[in-house]
């Protein structure tokens, strides 16, 4: 993990995570310059490096300020931008929207202090530069980033299964005062893809909710290339958010995703994305956006706890699939097998003794 490589000031944040595999390298570039975004570049060479032209990056025209050396080794690249947070409250029949929080107008704390090289985590915390309603006076919005070295499962809920090809980003709203009595929040997530790659939202309902109790649905936003159908990158999350820093089942907040649409309007104001992809919106890349809404039937959980945390996994390749734990399988095997075994043994004993009985006794009459 590298923080602001080649730049000494900590007024801007750029985190570069490099995952080196047997045959390729994954570069995760997290940044809060402009709207918070992550750039994922997959390079076919194990020795690829990131090059940044800082002066150009921080200028109003950052195109070409970020590149991977050697440029020919890049297999695939994509970006995910978190653009806006909406807040609305639902009256009887209509929805009342409060002024949007535009994430590109936020000022961010330095990530250097939150960098943890052993746990491979970092936190981007920010508050709006202008806060007329004072809702952020005691609170903040944060993106917690975790990088993974191996396949395993997260400890705390929602216990996402991850591989070494993925990283987790957690969207956290802490202490932000809601502006209505039953406010709900919506996070807008935009993805930038190369042409020839389409985004699909898939909802998988599984019978297994062992790792996230009572949540049966997993959503994946999968980028597939149009000619083949192999997944190139994915965003995966469980259909739930949690209302507590150490979440338990009863803290869960309903989470719904809707409205995946192509958004060919102006590119999200993220310097990283512009720097890497250039300015050709619509021609060299496509933009799609999706809204993730949080809040149950009455939005009460956030009201009391003032904490919201939503985890999403970003990675390269196929999204990981959950399987049954060995405990479940072994219990079912023993539970179903024992009576069957007993029935078999008992029937054999029955047949055996019936045969025997006829030979031991003679009929009396």
């Amino acid at each position: 993990m590298q923080y602001n490589p080649g730049w000494n000031s900590s007024s801007v944040n750029l985190l570069h995570v490099r995952a080196v595999g047997p045959a390729d390298t994954l570069h995760f570039i997290w940044s809060s310059i402009g709207a918070p975004a992550v750039l994922l570049v997959v390079s076919g060479s194990r020795n690829s490096t990131l090059g940044i032209d800082w002066t150009r990056l921080l200028s109003p025209a950052p195109a070409g300020a970020v590149w991977i050396d050697p440029p020919s080794s890049v297999i695939y690249s994509t970006a995910v931008v978190f653009t806006k947070v909406f807040e609305y409250s639902e009256a009887k029949t209509e929805e009342l929207f409060y002024p949007t929080y535009d994430l590109s107008d936020f000022s961010w704390d330095s990530v250097n202090r939150t960098l943890n090289h052993t746990a491979l985590t970092a936190e981007f915390t920010g508050i709006p530069a202008a806060d007329p309603s004072g809702s952020f006076s005691n609170g903040s919005l944060a993106f917690r980033v975790t990088a993974y070295e191996a396949s395993s499962r997260d400890g705390p809920l929602p216990s996402l299964l991850h591989t070494a090809n993925s990283s987790k980003v957690e969207f956290v709203l802490a202490g932000v005062a809601p502006r209505g009595n039953s406010s709900r929040f919506v996070l807008e997530v935009a993805t930038v893809e190369e042409t020839g790659v389409a985004q699909k939202l898939r909802s998988t309902r599984s019978i297994d909710d062992e790792y996230t109790p009572t949540i049966f649905e997993t959503l994946s936003l999968v980028a597939e290339s149009r000619n083949g159908s192999s997944a190139r990158s994915f965003l995966q999350w469980k259909a739930t958010a949690y209302g507590s820093p150490s979440p338990r089942r009863e803290d869960n907040i309903q989470c719904r995703s809707r409205g995946l649409q192509a958004a060919n309007w102006t590119l999200p104001v993220s310097s990283i994305v512009r720097a890497y992809f250039g300015e050709g919106a619509g021609s060299t890349y496509t933009v799609s956006a999706i809204n993730i809404s949080f809040g149950g039937e009455d939005g009460k959980v956030y009201q009391e706890k003032r904490y919201l945390s939503w985890s999403v996994l970003l990675g390269f390749g196929q999204p990981p699939q959950d399987t049954f734990s060995p405990l479940v399988i072994s219990i079912m095997a023993v539970a179903l097998g024992t009576p069957l075994l007993m029935l078999l043994v008992g029937s054999c004993a029955l047949l055996f003794t019936q045969g025997k009985r006829y030979s031991d006794y003679e009929p009396i009459n």
Binding site: R205, I207, D208, D209, E210, Y211, T212, P213, T214, I215, F216, R248, R249, E250, D298, K300, V328, I331, M332, A335, L336, T338, P339, M342, L343, G346, A349, L350, T353
Partner: protein, 478 residues
């Protein structure tokens, strides 16, 4: 004559109040699932001990009339304290309310049955018991479907959802317990009138509990206990937690989830008398129990591992539940001598309540930590344990020549043979007694004189000689 039914319906209405309002209770009182299930556990704890004493209290201490009134008062007070706990936002008070409610609830059922036996003797009794059970089940069903609606009306009235909303809803539900108390009072008055006018005795349960009899229980009886505990542990806690399961996994709306949760009771209301008749006519109880347990296992597996329409699985569960109740409880009467029957039934209910209390809390904890799939697997394991006990019971019964699995015809035939044998033995016994009486010296003056004179050697006519008659009878004596 509908009064005995109405008292039972009202108290069953309140038993499943928690299940109907699980989401609301957990949200308003801020408790996790294990604490929520403690509401059921506290209902069962007093009945672990009270099952033994219910009959005794009704027969010897209170009498049926006073007993019913006292238990109804307990039910009302318990429900009021339960609702009060919600109003005051004190969960421990809700637990206490359920405890008091439990003291009254199960003993009220015993009193119910005693009234029925006292008023409807003979053939009508089966019908009466069946109708009683149906009424109770209808009460549970109505509760499941109405309480959620009452809660949303109260919420609209108050404008917010919180402990007071929950408390008010439970108070409204508790009003039905007042009806129960009213019916108990009317019933007592009618029974006293009947006693005066018809010279009818006060009903008695007739139960005799001797705990030392427990050591005499046969292996078959213990296996029946295991079947009972493991089976009901996989049904009642499941219904208690079922509503949220159907909402989350199968995406049902709240009303639909309540409806499907109550289908087990709705089905058992008409099917109990039908199955009762069937098992009585056909016999072969163990086979019916086996069918019921296997069906329940299939139903739980369907709910756990597939997304198939849960109405199918729940209907199967309802059918299996009614069948098991009709086939299992009579088996106790076949393996236990009549004077131990009270103890056996009391013991069975006691450990059933113990099992329910423990498993209810365990189920809540499993749900919080591991989710619904694991919970269903746990219930499947319980049913499998029950299945193992049934299989063992079948073989034990077969190899020891027991009579649990006889068909009804065979049982009737053997009963007839046993009856004629008993008659024959009785006749012989009476004859022997008569013979012995004739041989005894008669303590009157005439025979004494005869004996004295014969000892002296005086000649007596033959018909006055006592030793001649002895010799006549000697060949008959064995």
């Amino acid at each position: 004559m509908g009064h005995p039914f109405w008292t039972k319906q009202r108290s069953y209405f309140c038993y499943d109040n928690p299940a109907a309002l699980q989401t609301q209770v957990q949200r308003d009182m801020k408790v996790n699932t294990a604490q929520f299930m403690s509401l059921y556990a506290w209902y069962s704890w007093p009945n672990v001990v009270l099952c033994f004493f219910g009959g005794f209290l009704i027969d010897r201490v209170f009498g049926i009339r006073l007993g019913t009134i006292i238990f109804s008062v307990f039910v009302c007070v318990g429900q009021v304290i339960f609702a009060l706990g919600a109003l005051l936002n004190a969960f421990w008070l809700m637990d206490a309310g359920r405890f008091i409610f439990g003291i009254g609830g199960e003993s009220l059922a015993v009193a119910q049955n005693t009234y029925a036996v006292s008023w409807f003797k003979g053939k009508e009794l089966n019908l009466v018991f069946g109708l009683q059970l149906s009424m109770a089940r209808i009460g549970s069903t109505v509760n499941m479907n109405i309480m959620g609606w009452i809660y949303s009306r109260v919420q609209d009235l108050l404008g917010y959802a919180g402990p007071s909303t929950l408390g008010l809803t439970l108070m409204i539900g508790g009003v039905t317990c007042l009806f129960s108390l009213g019916c108990a009072l009317i019933l007592a008055y009618l029974d006293r009138r009947a006693e005066k006018l018809l010279h009818k005795e006060q009903g008695k349960t007739g139960e005799v509990i001797k705990l030392t009899d427990v050591k005499d229980f046969s292996l078959s009886l213990w296996l029946i206990f295991v079947i009972c505990v493991c089976y009901y542990a996989a049904v009642f806690p499941f219904i208690g937690l079922g509503k949220v399961f159907f909402i989350e996994k199968f995406r049902f709306s709240s009303q639909e989830a309540s409806a499907i949760n109550s289908i087990v009771y709705i089905i058992s209301a008409p099917m109990s008398p039908v199955f009762g008749l069937l098992v009585d006519k056909v016999g072969k109880n163990i086979i019916w129990v086996l069918c019921a347990v296997v069906t329940t296992l299939a139903s739980h597996i369907m709910l756990a591992f597939t997304f198939w329409n849960p109405w199918i699985a729940m209907c199967l569960l309802g059918v299996a539940y009614s069948l098991l109740a009709c086939a299992l409880w009579p088996m106790v009467a076949f393996v236990v001598p009549e004077h131990q029957l009270g103890t056996a039934y009391g013991f069975m209910q006691s450990i059933q309540n113990l099992g329910l209390a423990i498993i209810a809390i365990a189920a809540g904890m499993i749900l919080d930590t591991r989710g619904y799939l694991f919970l269903e697997v746990f219930f499947c394991a319980c049913v499998c344990l029950s299945l193992i006990a049934v299989v063992m019971l079948y073989f034990v019964n077969h190899f020891t020549g027991g009579d649990l699995n006889w068909s009804a015809k065979k049982r009737e035939k053997l009963q007839k043979v046993a009856a004629t044998e008993a008659e024959e033995q009785e006749r012989l016994r009476r004859q022997n007694e008569d013979d012995l009486a004739k041989l005894q010296p008669k303590p009157d003056g005439f025979s004494l004189r005869n004996k004295y004179l014969s000892k002296l050697g005086a000649q007596l006519p033959d018909n006055y000689s006592s030793c001649l008659s002895t010799m006549v009878h000697r060949s008959v004596l064995k």
